[in-house]
């Protein structure tokens, strides 16, 4: 009766698509938004205008987008991490609002108290994260638990890195979620590195999804560069969750194609590793597939991409025109009521 399943070792792959042409277009558009958001932020960093760390998701777009796309954004809930901007877009986050939040300008949903992807937008069912890795996993589980007590199934989707997966709270949260059959999906984004630390110094198991067995939950390891595979795997996880079968642990294999944040030259990453993974770029491979399957033409994609980048840059520029939040904001809201 246990939904436990050992992962196959070799990442699975599907050749035919579950998705309609429109859905595939949509997926690509989110992937491009994620990608060009990064391009625009990188540009800002180089201009010395970024504030705080700039954490690229280059190489991870398929995970953020494919997973969030499997959820019902009117019912389910998203707890994204630092490399999941793609999922914010899928959940309908307004671009200008996102930029203002990210850059902590006046009008930010965090009033300048925090920035980057840390914000919550309850109206869009997005809750943010804190810097402490792993801390939000029990919180995501608890969010779903509340609805479970009300007899409602609300799937929580959240993420952790190959590095963050070693935090004790991850263990407690997964075990707790499995005991209570909480509809939680945890994606372990194994992008080979945690800051400068390679997988070999982080854990000694073959697959991080092997941990699912120890919690009596479903676990699998998949190729994280294939957006439709991520989507299909998460969709199954959502369905299991809706059937009351509890949480799923999905390890996605990708490569962090840039430094931990932009200040990091990532010289500790072997060049051939980057070259190898460059051929598996999730955006480029998906474009190839989309074009091959006749969903869009190469020119259409190119145009979409250019528009997307221009939109990102324009939105950033609008955010930058805004002032920093007023100093008084710093003294407000420590408590809801006092």
């Amino acid at each position: 009766m246990k939904s436990t399943q050992r992962s196959s070792g070799k990442p699975a792959s599907k050749s035919t698509s579950l998705l309609t042409a429109d859905q595939r277009k949509e997926l690509l558009s989110y992937m491009l938004m994620a990608r060009e958001f990064d391009t625009a932020m990188l540009r800002l960093y180089r201009q010395g205008k970024a504030f705080g760390g700039v954490y690229s998701q280059l190489g991870n777009e398929a995970v953020s987008v494919g997973s969030a796309y499997a959820l019902d954004r009117d019912r389910d809930v998203l707890f994204p991490m630092h490399r999941n901007i793609g999922s914010h877009f899928v959940f309908g986050q307004d671009l200008d609002q996102l930029m203002v939040n990210h850059l902590a300008r006046e009008g930010s949903q965090m009033r300048g108290t925090d920035g980057t992807g840390h914000y919550a937008d309850p109206a869009r069912r997005i809750y943010g994260n804190v810097s402490h890795l792993g801390a939000m996993i029990p919180v995501a589980a608890g969010f779903s638990l509340a609805d479970q007590l009300r007899g409602i199934t609300t799937v929580s989707l959240t993420f952790i890195g190959d590095g963050g997966a070693q935090v004790g709270e991850v263990h407690e949260a997964l075990n707790f979620a499995s005991v209570h059959k909480i509809p939680l999906i945890l994606i372990i984004e194994n992008n080979q590195y945690a800051y400068s630390t390679p997988n070999s110094l982080e854990f000694a198991c073959e697959r991080l999804s092997d941990r699912a067995l120890g919690y009596g939950m479903y676990g699998t390891t998949i190729d994280g560069t294939d957006v439709e595979l991520v989507y299909a795997t998460c969709l199954e996880a959502v369905e299991r969750a809706r059937r009351g079968e509890g949480p799923s642990l999905i390890e996605t294999r990708t490569m962090r194609m840039r430094g931990h944040a932009e200040h990091d030259d990532f010289s500790y990453v072997p060049k051939d590793l980057l070259e190898e993974w460059a051929t598996k770029d999730p955006v480029e491979t998906y474009i190839t597939r989309i074009v091959r399957d006749g969903v869009m033409t190469a020119d259409e994609v190119k145009a979409l991409r250019e528009t997307t980048l221009a939109t990102m840059i324009a939105s950033i520029d609008r955010a930058l025109e805004r002032a920093w939040p007023a100093p008084e904001e710093g003294f407000k809201n420590v408590f809801m009521s006092i």
Binding site: I137, V139, A146, A173, S337
Partner: protein, 323 residues
């Protein structure tokens, strides 16, 4: 109605659970067993396993999931089997719960409660008074009741509060202190100190178990002609500076007492505030009586030696009055 301190706490939680479906409890052995101290005895039968959740030994997951549930409209009450084990869920409390209102503008109406304090042979790991950590953490309310009626009234206020509340019950008071407690709805607002004994010569500002030490000291001192005022601050955060100020202005002398260890304890905060705002009314130094700066030892001889008590308060008051 006469109730023990423990019964008053249970009464408050039962009252709120009956009143509001969003209130639920989570902790270790709180269901079938009724909790290590039997505070939740009978709760499982009345409210069922969905609202009285027996959780695995995972303090971080327990607190974290309560935070998540509170973000989704619930009002969880978390029991720490002993408050000492909060160190295992510390990150959830200070990093997540204590910063959410500030960052997101969203309420985390969670109460984390449990037995704290020493004097009962608990050993170094079942006796800690850790309230000062949370007072220093931002965004957390901190409550330390000393009497059954306050325990009930403050618990109801804490459950209804929209901020995370750290609620320190003193295990030594659970069955030792009995008192009249209003039936049904009874609310003691957070942030209000209470003068529990009027006096003129010296103010003793205390909370939790130390209030009872101060009251015992007051009796003894009265026979010597020293008449002390005892202020029970009840909630450390928010802190009722006014009541403390009024008392010290009147008496001109201030002794601060708590059971927690001295250094960097909340007594330092109280003494510092008195030394600032009431300076011109002071006729003597501001002094503190607190536990010696050690873990709470196990053997009764040692434990009694390091913890504060009525005699230590008496001695300190005498010194201040002779200053």
């Amino acid at each position: 109605m006469q109730m023990t301190y423990l019964e008053a706490i249970a009464d408050a939680m039962r009252h709120e659970m009956r009143r509001d479906d969003n209130v639920f409890m989570i902790g270790e052995d709180i269901g079938t067993y009724g909790g290590a101290f039997k505070v939740t005895k009978g709760f499982l039968d009345e409210f069922g396993a969905k609202r009285i959740i027996d959780a695995p030994i995972s303090e971080a997951a327990i607190i974290g999931s309560a935070i998540g549930a509170s973000l989704n409209g619930m009002r969880p009450i978390v029991e720490m089997q002993f408050m000492d084990f909060i160190t295992n869920g510390f990150n959830q409390v200070v990093t997540v719960a204590g910063t959410t209102a500030y960052r997101w503008g969203l309420p985390v109406p969670m109460v984390v409660r449990g037995p704290s304090g020493g004097g009962v042979g608990g050993n170094p790991f079942h006796s800690r008074n850790s309230e000062a950590w949370f007072a220093h953490a931002t965004g957390l309310k901190v409550v330390c009741p000393a009497f059954p009626d306050d325990a009930k009234g403050l618990m109801i206020a804490s459950i209804r509060d929209n901020d995370p509340v750290m609620f320190f019950e003193h295990k030594g008071l659970y069955r030792k202190i009995k008192g009249e407690v209003p039936e049904g709805e009874h609310i003691v607002p957070l942030g209000q100190a209470r003068v529990v004994r009027k006096g003129t010569h010296c103010s003793v500002i205390a909370y939790g178990s130390a209030v009872h030490m101060a009251l015992a000291a007051a009796e003894a001192l009265a026979s010597e002609g020293i008449d002390i005022e005892v202020v029970d601050i009840r909630t450390l955060v928010p802190f009722d500076q006014e009541t403390v100020f009024e008392s010290v202005r009147k008496t001109g002398r201030a002794l601060v007492a708590h059971e927690a260890v001295l250094t960097a304890g909340f007594g330092g905060e109280i003494a510092a505030r008195i030394a600032d705002i009431a300076f011109q009314y002071l006729d003597a130094p501001v002094r503190r009586v607190a536990a010696f700066d050690s873990p709470t030892p196990f053997a009764p001889t040692l434990e009694q030696a390091v913890l504060p008590n009525a005699e230590k308060i008496q001695a300190a008051v005498r010194e201040l009055c002779n200053f």
